[in-house]
Symmetry: C2
Subunit: 283 residues, 2 copies
């Protein structure tokens, strides 16, 4: 593991922040999670755009994107020296409002920038179990779901409901529609259509989610982004999750209901690999 704090390269042990940093005191900061393919940061522009959006909504001044990009590239290069060729890298960017005089009152202060680099753990899961959480998504009326903020108590409460055999819990929107997992977006296949909760369900605009929708459309699969009833998830022929580090994760059990890892999921998984190959060729 390798960490950059405000431009300084540090080891895991050295990487500390003040207990007065508002990121620690109030969760007053934003983050992004990026992974590499062939040691290149995938969809970096989209991740930086989302980071800019989150920071702007909170009035946090981001460091220059050119600085962030150069830290990312240097971090990848530095960590690559100590890992094997095939090992990909996980990157977490965090920007907080900075160190404050200890009041929720917001003053203009100097932001704290943290970038963490570590070997990406991949587990090629072939059929996981998901459960439905009793914790509802925080509605947009309280927090814009497109803000990736540090504080994630709702997701932690949801994950506390997980037993060992459960890979992910799915949260419903306040109104009871299927929303998203604590670390993933969800897709269903029914009657040859690919169905996924629309952004106005109150979910994060996942970048892997975006990529999968793009690939599905290329493959001629009908895509429906809309409000999704819970019964549709139970009735679906195929179900899978998407997230940055694990791409497409097929679901074998929705609660106790068994699903096939079917042809559409397999087609999209293969399509995702092709997409990455094309992307790296044009990098």
């Amino acid at each position: 593991m390798l960490v950059n704090v405000n431009g300084q390269w540090l080891t895991r042990k050295e990487a500390k922040i003040s207990i007065l940093d508002r990121g620690f005191l109030f969760g007053d900061g934003v983050y992004e999670t990026i992974r590499t393919y062939y040691k290149r940061p995938f969809a970096l522009d989209k991740h930086l755009k989302r980071l800019e959006y989150s920071a702007e909504k909170l009035g946090i001044k981001l460091p220059d994107l050119s600085f962030i990009t150069s830290v990312i590239n240097e971090g990848i290069e530095r960590l690559s020296e100590s890992i094997v060729d095939q090992q990909e890298i996980y990157i977490r960017l965090i920007v907080t409002r900075g160190e404050s005089e200890f009041s929720l009152r917001i003053t203009t202060i100097s932001p704290t920038f943290v970038a963490i680099f570590k070997p990406l753990e991949t587990s090629n899961k072939e059929g996981v179990k998901i459960k439905i959480s009793t914790v509802r998504k925080i509605p947009s009326e309280s927090i814009d779901p497109k803000i990736k903020g540090l504080g994630q108590i709702d997701k932690i409460l949801a994950r506390l409901e997980m037993t060992k055999e459960v890979y992910e819990v799915i949260m419903l929107s306040f109104n009871g529609y299927v929303a998203e997992g604590t670390m993933s977006n969800i897709f269903m296949i029914s009657n040859e259509r690919l169905i996924t909760p629309s952004l106005d369900t109150g979910i994060l605009n996942g970048i892997t989610r975006d990529t999968v929708i793009e690939i599905a459309k290329e493959k001629g699969i009908k895509v429906e982004e809309r409000l999704v009833e819970l019964k549709e998830l139970f009735n679906a022929e195929e179900v899978f999750l998407t997230h940055t580090s694990a791409e497409i994760v097929p679901v074998k059990y929705v609660e106790e209901i068994e699903k096939d890892v079917g042809p559409v999921t397999k087609l999209l998984k293969a399509g995702f690999r092709e997409y990455i190959e094309r992307w790296i060729e044009s990098y």
Copy 2:
């Protein structure tokens, strides 16, 4: 300022935590804010009980209450040496789940305990301005409002709407009832009754709020804890806020509507001082 991290006494500059602490990464921790009167921690039992509740709901193991209490007493003693006699002390307790292997996945780890001691800033505000926030409280279906978690993005979004002359913004519940401020509870006086949003509005059980209700009842004032319509706040004869460090703060303006700092507010303010005097005599 003086800080205790896991039993170690540190200066402000020395007080740092790992960037891998889950309190920083995910807001995975709880807190309490305590103040002294006559250098004694006020309502310590109630604060510790609330801290226990928050921690239990998140499955965070608290250090022994006897350890926490001894740190509080020692911190007050240490800081007292460098401040004048009349100066009271502000204490913030933070307990996080601890340092993790960087995944939202919850594992049993050793919690991080932080206690911050600093001189209490008091400003005897005589008539402040409040506004109604467009940010709605996070509903209980998403996060139990009695959990005092580190992440406070909703409150930060609400405070971003504050202009300079505004002391506090009041958030409504998801259903549009008057709930609470970002750092305070709210009370109204109408037709000689003291009205305040009930806990089932989805608010924190403020300890100063509790104390004020107790005092009002002693004084023979009728108290109504219930769902409160927004129009009642605008129509109220008197309005005040309560919070740990500033006790009772009279409101002079609800948005553009002027209020009197009237007889009931004054009676309760005097009653609060008497309450403190009685408390310290029996300490």
